[in-house]
């Protein structure tokens, strides 16, 4: 059912933990190159949905169609290979490694040379290393984190870590980018900056982005498409304005403070 302009479409996805339905028969489609926001109260199943999309959780029912290929479920590894990258709600960086190394790991699927070549610095390795480093540096430059290039991510402030995690995801040159609350716990300036980075990402790399965000103003400013979840059900789907007008949504979400 996925037409060509849909990069991703979810069909009747359901997921439950120990009998509790976290996601209840959800379907929606994401167009190529758009920014789609998932909103909804805490526990609405937003994060679980992201986890299903890139195979961290396996859906009980339903199927996911990504880039013209339908699957009931995928391993995280496979989904990475097919061009899905993501960031996590509570930052999942490699704390013991430098910013640069974190970004470099993001490119692991792009590396041409084998580990043996790299260890002995033979064959493709020397050039490959330079290429990967350059690409990573371009991302570091893109997100303006040069001053922290060689510091351990564990030692960086929260806002920066969020940015580094985005950098790691971008380094993979993904088709689809899943952002789980990229601006959680940021002040308005940081939010503005991050929003700008997200927009630039969409424009510069033409990346399709699905993001979870609580700050409605940010959502409305950023996204071309909004999907509203509540208690694992989809209660709204459309352009920001359509969604803003939807009474059910107002009742379930916009009405309540978040």
């Amino acid at each position: 059912m996925t037409t060509n302009e849909h990069l991703l479409s979810l069909n009747n996805i359901s997921l439950s933990f120990k009998g509790v339905k976290a996601i209840n028969n959800i379907s929606f489609a994401v167009n190529r190159g758009e920014i789609c926001a998932l909103i909804g109260p805490n526990g609405a199943g937003k994060s679980s949905l992201l986890n299903v999309i890139n195979g961290v959780y396996q859906a009980d029912e339903g199927e996911i169609n990504f880039d013209g290929e339908s699957k009931k479920n995928m391993s995280p590894h496979r989904s990475a290979q097919r061009g899905i990258a993501r960031t996590f709600q509570n930052i999942a960086l490699f704390k013991g490694m430098s910013v640069l190394d974190n970004v470099l790991t993001g490119r692991n699927l792009k590396v041409k040379s084998s580990w043996v070549e790299q260890v002995f610095n033979i064959g493709q390795a020397p050039n490959d290393a330079v290429v990967q480093r350059k690409k990573s540096e371009e991302i570091i430059d893109f997100l303006k984190i040069q001053p922290w290039r060689s510091s351990l991510v564990g030692s960086l402030p929260y806002g920066l870590q969020k940015r580094v995690e985005l950098a790691r995801a971008l380094a993979a040159e993904p088709k689809l980018l899943l952002l789980d609350e990229p601006m959680a716990g940021m002040n308005s300036d940081e939010k503005a900056e991050m929003s700008r980075f997200i927009l630039d990402t969409q424009r510069e790399f033409g990346t399709t982005i699905v993001l979870i965000e609580h700050d409605i103003s940010v959502v409305m400013a950023l996204s071309n498409h909004v999907v509203v979840l509540d208690y694992g059900k989809k209660i709204g789907d459309g352009t920001p304005d359509e969604v803003r007008a939807n009474p059910e949504v107002i009742a379930a979400y916009l009405g309540t403070k978040h």
């Binding site: 590894h77 990258a85 490699f94 470099l104 790991t105 692991n108 580990w115």
Partner: protein, 355 residues
């Protein structure tokens, strides 16, 4: 602090990959090598070579092996000694059964055999994590030793399973003197040390640390967890295997399976903890510590306490002190002596400022 960094900047990425970015560090290291290879052979005596330097080097290598697995890839193991044993016995048999095989080659083959065995016992790590993995490594520890004790074929039908060193001859130069064995061991350890360094700095090394720090995220960015873990087991065991051969043939000369029992595995684990998880240098510091402390203690009891403590008791005190040290390090400096050194270097970079 004492040397200037100004003017040491890089104009291409290749230069940035060198192990020592600053020329002063580079020189310092060369100096160290020069001392180890040229100076020490002249001043050292047989006791130093046989009782301190050689075991120090071999244990450093063993620690290195375990550190790759535990410190970098985050897979806990209590079976290190088993893989050393595999290396030693395999090398012994290759050399014994293949006519005119240079012993260095047999060491290498021993290492590869150990790697294969390591991968076998690493397989469960694809399904299980943490303590559960201890089972697999302990299984290796006991099973391997059992095999070598029960099947005398491995020790060429020696009644007590003892294997003896081959002739240590390279290009008809005999390395069986203490100095020779020292130089031989040193050479091998230095080469493997560099190998390890370039492994942990390669993409593989980064993947190891990624799996260690946060394996879910590692999987999500497309790192193949099974491949990464199994390579960790294989390569770690390769290093341990070589260390086993050195332990058996350049240090002891003859060894029985129980020279590689659980206590050896613990000793190596302690080297890693004290020296520093996730560090190459740390293994050398840790090994030096583990070798020197007992000597220090016995000297103290000999000279200061005039041998008032009998050796048995001394051993007990050693145990207590080691245990206490382990706990102390885990509490105060979880990253071991290597971290202490790192901190010192960082402080002196910005001296006299604070950061």
């Amino acid at each position: 602090m004492l040397y200037r960094e100004a003017g040491q900047f890089i104009t291409d990425y290749r230069a940035d990959k060198s192990i020592f970015r600053l020329k002063q560090e580079r020189w310092g290291f060369y100096l160290l090598l020069a001392i180890a290879f040229i100076f020490i052979p002249f001043i050292g005596n047989d006791y130093w070579f046989s009782a301190i330097l050689i075991p120090f080097l071999v244990l450093s290598l063993a620690g290195l092996g375990l550190n790759l697995l535990t410190g970098y890839a985050g897979q806990l193991s209590l079976g290190s000694a088993a893989f050393m044993a595999v290396g030693a016995f395999a090398a012994y048999n290759f050399h014994l059964r293949i006519e005119g095989l240079p012993f260095l080659v047999s060491f290498l083959l021993g290492g590869f055999t150990a790697a294969i065995v390591g991968i076998l016992f690493g397989l469960p790590s694809l399904r299980i994590k943490g303590f559960y993995l201890l089972v697999s490594t302990l299984a290796a520890q006991f099973f391997v030793l059992w095999v070598f004790t029960n099947f005398s074929w491995f020790s060429n039908n020696n009644s007590s399973g003892v294997i003896t060193a081959p002739q240590l001859i390279i290009l008809n130069h005999d390395f069986s003197t203490p100095v020779g064995r020292y130089l031989l061991t040193l050479g091998i350890v230095v080469v493997l040390g560099f190998l390890a360094k370039s492994i942990v700095r390669s993409e593989l090394g980064r993947n190891w640390m990624a799996v260690r720090d946060m394996d879910t995220a590692a999987a999500v960015i497309g790192i193949s967890i099974p491949k990464t873990k199994l390579l960790a087991f294989g390569i770690s065991s390769f290093f341990l295997g070589i260390a086993g051969s050195l332990w058996a043939f350049t240090y002891l000369g003859t060894v029985e399976p129980h020279g590689f029992d659980l206590t050896r595995s613990f000793q190596i684990l302690f080297i890693v903890i004290i020296g520093g998880m996730g560090s190459i240098l740390g293994n050398f510091l840790g090994a030096a510590f583990v070798i020197l402390l007992p000597i220090l203690l016995s000297n103290i009891s000999m000279n200061l306490l005039a041998g008032a403590i009998d050796p048995g008791q001394l051993e007990n005190f050693q145990k207590i002190i080691f245990g206490a040290l382990i706990i102390f390090f885990l509490i105060k400096e979880p990253n071991g002596l290597a971290k202490v050194w790192q901190t010192f270097k960082q402080r002196s970079r910005v001296w006299p400022l604070r950061f």
